[in-house]
């Protein structure tokens, strides 16, 4: 398993502690403390995952997240001290795949990181259809009429999870477990925000979704193909 993790955090003590824990789990951490330097460090390190603190000197975490997401689909896990809805949603909307609220347990953090990196393992060749989309699971590509649509790994996983069982309605909790790897139910806002982001990319009209359909009061399911 690849394990380069870029830690973007201005608190040196926490960064060092994170380094200790991550090294202990077999990852290769590298550090940057300034939001302005984060992007340069990202390009240099080419990490497999980014741990990003939301409050940073210079550019703030949201901005950094947006910049990284603009050029890469690499998993981003936000570290936030604020569990308030607005902060979390803004962070997720700027492109983060997951978030973890301080103070977190080291095991919890490692579990999240592993869950985000797990999908990098080789999947079996598989062809799926959802709506008028064609998904090549092994090739990690989604195509509509031959044109490919760029999705982040997480969005891709979400779409694949829905497409594999088009007859099933997925509750948010089930999606959290299957896509994010949470064993116990966590914040369902994660699902809501990512479904919105996925829709904005794959739907012809995000206002009237046909690929990812909401089942009111229950959750989501794949649209008819």
């Amino acid at each position: 398993m690849k394990g380069r993790v870029l830690v973007v955090d201005d608190d040196t003590a926490l960064a060092e502690m994170l380094g200790i824990v991550l090294r202990g789990e077999g990852f290769e951490p590298s550090f940057v403390a300034d939001g302005d330097k984060a992007l340069a460090a990202f390009r240099e390190v080419k990490p497999d995952l980014v741990l990003l603190d939301l409050m940073l000197p210079g550019r703030d975490g949201i901005e950094v997240c947006r910049l990284i997401r603009a050029e890469s689909g690499v998993p981003i896990v936000m570290l936030t001290a604020k569990s308030d809805t607005v902060d979390v949603v803004v962070g997720l909307e700027s492109g983060a795949d997951d978030y973890i609220v301080k103070p977190f347990k080291p095991k919890e953090l490692v579990a999240r990181i592993r869950a985000r990196l797990r999908r990098s393992e080789e999947p079996a060749p598989e062809q799926l259809g959802i709506g008028d989309l064609v998904i090549d699971v092994a090739g990690h590509s989604v195509k509509r009429d031959g044109h490919s649509i760029a999705l982040t790994p997480l969005e891709f996983d979400l779409l694949v999870a829905l497409a594999r069982k088009p007859w099933q309605v997925f509750t948010r909790e089930v999606l959290l477990e299957q896509v994010w790897g949470y064993r116990h139910a966590a914040d369902t806002r994660l699902v809501n925000v990512h479904v919105q982001r996925l829709r904005s990319k794959v739907e012809k009209d995000p206002e009237r979704p046909e690929i990812v359909v909401t089942v009111r009061g229950v959750g989501y399911k794949a649209g008819p193909s």
Partner: protein, 684 residues
């Protein structure tokens, strides 16, 4: 005392009468209202119905306008009153003018008539002299009294063509010619017959009483009368002046001057017309002036009203326009000052709230980052404790545990301060509470295993759906279930679900130590401990139930507790099925049916079905309900302390000042209990 009783009686008699009249009208009006509201029960008189249909209904818009428009009311009142004043004025002025005119007429007429009488007397004297001479000379020419009288009347009336008429009548009541042979050849009706100038009907024109008076009195007499013309039946008002005169023969006759009021009538008509025109003008002008004046007052008042409404709606920068220095301007200034102060205060409060929120957020961040480091460090040390000597290893364990506790305490404190700052937001969506309960039970299973309790769920056969924030509901229920397991002393914990009447409820029942009297309200207080002497086995923060209450309140729901010492307790969460609805009752009774009191009643021989329906929660609003034998040790001093009187979530202030609220929640509880029963009945 009884002597002067009559007067006051009469005195009060009047107002009563009028009040009766008003109340009759009111009753009629109300009856109409009831009818139109469709709320009238029982038979209604058909006349009333007709009245409503034909009188009241078309009048309604006008009545509404009348009630709502002060300008209309003032203008209408002004119009009515000015009409009254103008009418009164007109009557007075016309009376004065009329009296003045009549007075002048009388003066002029009397003097003119006096002149006429004098001329007639002179003429008679002169005729008498010539007659004497004629008698001496033996000539009888010109001495005929009838002809003389006729000539006299004509002569007298020739001076006032149209201004007055002259009438001569015989004196002595009889106007008949009394057949004196000497007068026999007189033309017309005889020597003593009536004579009149113009076409006056002498008999009909002169009032009879005036003639009688003239027979007995000397001097000129006058009277107003209606003069009849031969040509028409209609009378003409006139002043009649009469006097007894003597003809040349010494015979008495009555001479009348008739002065018609034609001129005066004309003048009076002119005055009347002028007054009427002026009155109409005055009334219209007064109305217009009232309208303008009221407008001056009402316009700023209306402006103030509309601006107040806007202010109340939250547009705080609204201000009145102020011009000049008059009272209206002062009103505007005062209003603006008030609005300004309000705005400043509200902004201060908003600022405070923002600062508080900001502070909480900052504290949260500033504390959490180092705590994260401490926690990770503690965990790393804890993992490696086996390599340490026993003292250091135990210290590592303590550090690890207390960091955990510190963290949950911090989290709870931050959560509470978020509620206090009003920063907590509800994210309601349809949730099946069975899923939430299942997750909670799953999470609490390890603890229950340790304690030896079984976790049982009842009422999960059908969906229990509500619009709720599942994160908060789960937090509340986790708290309740963990509490129940912790205090359950290894006995079963039952989680009961129900939905009915627009509400859903989850009750968590344990059979542990229960609650002492009065504790049912206190459990929700911050940092409250059931027994300070008891060991804190699991080390909750003491804020769990306070947060749970806030969560329930955020949903518009209730969180209530019931307990009996040694008999366990039940915590019930009730939420409205649709977010924003008001709760009227709960589908689950607060006091469980297997409570000691309920069982006591059953043991005493009361049929179960009856107690189940009406006595599921026995009435206890009085606080004097006989305490069942088993619960004899319950002191009956504090009514709120009796089992079953749960704390209402909504009344937290009462819950904190619990010593005073002994009576109050009882009524609320009774009312609520009625709702419960209703809810249960529907639920079945």
């Amino acid at each position: 005392m009884s002597g002067n009783g009559a007067a006051p009686e009469r005195g009060v008699g009047r107002p009563v009468e009028t009040a009766g009249g008003i109340s009759l009208f009111r009753r009629l009006w109300r009856a109409g209202q009831m009818l139109s509201d469709g709320a009238a029960a029982g038979p209604v008189h058909p006349l009333l119905r007709l009245y409503v249909r034909w009188v009241r209904r078309p009048l309604l818009p006008a009545m509404r306008l009348w009630r709502r428009n002060i300008q209309l009311r003032v203008v209408a009142t002004t119009l009515l009153m000015s009409v009254g004043v103008v009418l009164l004025l007109g009557v007075v002025v016309i009376g004065q003018v009329r009296n003045g005119l009549l007075e002048a007429k009388r003066h002029a007429s009397l003097s003119q008539a006096e002149g006429g009488f004098k001329a007639a007397r002179d003429a008679a004297d002169a005729a008498g002299d010539t007659r004497g001479q004629d008698a001496q000379s033996g000539s009888r020419s010109g001495t005929d009294p009838g002809a003389w009288l006729t000539a006299q009347v004509q002569q007298l009336s020739s001076g006032g063509q149209g201004v007055y008429h002259v009438v001569a009548l015989s004196s002595g009541g009889g106007d008949l010619a009394y057949g004196d042979p000497g007068y026999g050849d007189v033309s017309s009706a005889g020597a003593r017959g009536p004579r009149a100038s113009g076409d006056i009907d002498p008999e009909a024109s002169i009032p009879a009483d005036l003639r009688k008076q003239l027979d007995t009195k000397t001097g000129a007499l006058w009277k107003s009368a209606s003069v009849k013309h031969n040509s028409s039946d209609e009378g003409e008002p006139a002043l009649v002046v009469g006097k007894r005169m003597y003809d040349p023969n010494g015979k008495a006759y009555q001479l009348y001057y008739l002065f018609p009021y034609t001129q005066e009538e004309k003048s009076l008509g002119l005055v009347r017309g002028t007054l009427a025109t002026a009155g109409v003008f005055v009334v219209v002008l007064l109305g217009a002036i009232a309208w303008l004046v009221v407008r001056q007052i009402v316009t700023p008042v209306r402006m103030a009203a509309s601006i107040s409404e806007r202010l109340a709606a939250g547009v705080l920068q609204e201000r009145m326009k102020v011009t000049g220095e008059d009272d209206i301007a002062r009103l505007g200034e005062a209003f603006n000052k008030m609005a300004q102060n309000l705005q400043v205060k509200i902004q201060q409060l908003e600022q405070l709230s923002r600062m508080q929120r900001r502070f909480v957020s900052d504290v949260s961040h500033e504390l959490r980052t180092p705590l994260t480091t401490v926690r990770m460090a503690a965990e790393v040390i804890h993992e490696a404790r086996e390599d340490f000597d026993p003292v250091t290893a135990r210290s590592a364990e303590l550090l690890y545990g207390q960091v955990d506790r510190f963290e949950s305490l911090l989290a709870d404190l931050l959560e509470i301060s978020r509620f206090d700052a009003g920063a907590a937001a509800l994210e309601a969506e349809p949730v099946d509470l069975r899923d939430v309960v299942n997750r909670v039970i799953e999470g609490a299973l390890p603890l229950a295993d340790r304690k030896g309790s079984r976790l049982l769920v009842r009422g999960a056969e059908q969906p229990v759906t509500a619009e709720a924030d599942s994160r908060r509901v789960e937090r509340v229920l986790r708290n309740l279930v963990v509490n129940a397991v912790e205090h359950g002393e290894g006995r079963d914990v039952i989680v009961r679900l129900a939905t009915a009447g627009g509400a859903v409820a989850v009750a968590v029942r344990d059979y542990g130590v229960g609650l002492k009297p009065g504790e049912a309200t206190r459990v929700f207080n911050r940092f409250w401990r059931a027994d300070p002497a008891r060991a804190r086995t699991t080390g909750g923060t003491g804020l769990g139930l306070s947060i749970a209450v806030e969560d329930a309140r955020l949903h518009g729901g209730w969180l209530q507790a019931w307990g009996e010492p040694g008999g366990g307790s039940q915590f019930r969460l009730t939420l409205p099925a649709a977010a924003g609805d008001t709760l009227r009752g709960s589908p689950i009774p607060l006091e469980p049916e297997d409570s000691r009191r309920n069982r006591g009643l059953n043991d005493a021989g009361v049929p179960l079905a009856v107690t189940g329906r009406s006595g599921g929660v026995p009435p206890q609003g009085s606080g004097l309900t006989p305490v069942p034998p088993q619960a004899k040790n319950v002191p009956a001093v504090d009514p709120a302390a009796l089992p079953g009187s749960g704390a209402r979530v909504v009344a937290r202030a009462g819950g904190q000042g619990h010593a005073q609220d002994g009576g109050k929640p009882a009524a609320g509880a009774a009312e609520e209990r009625a709702g419960e029963r209703e809810g249960r009945a529907r639920g079945r």
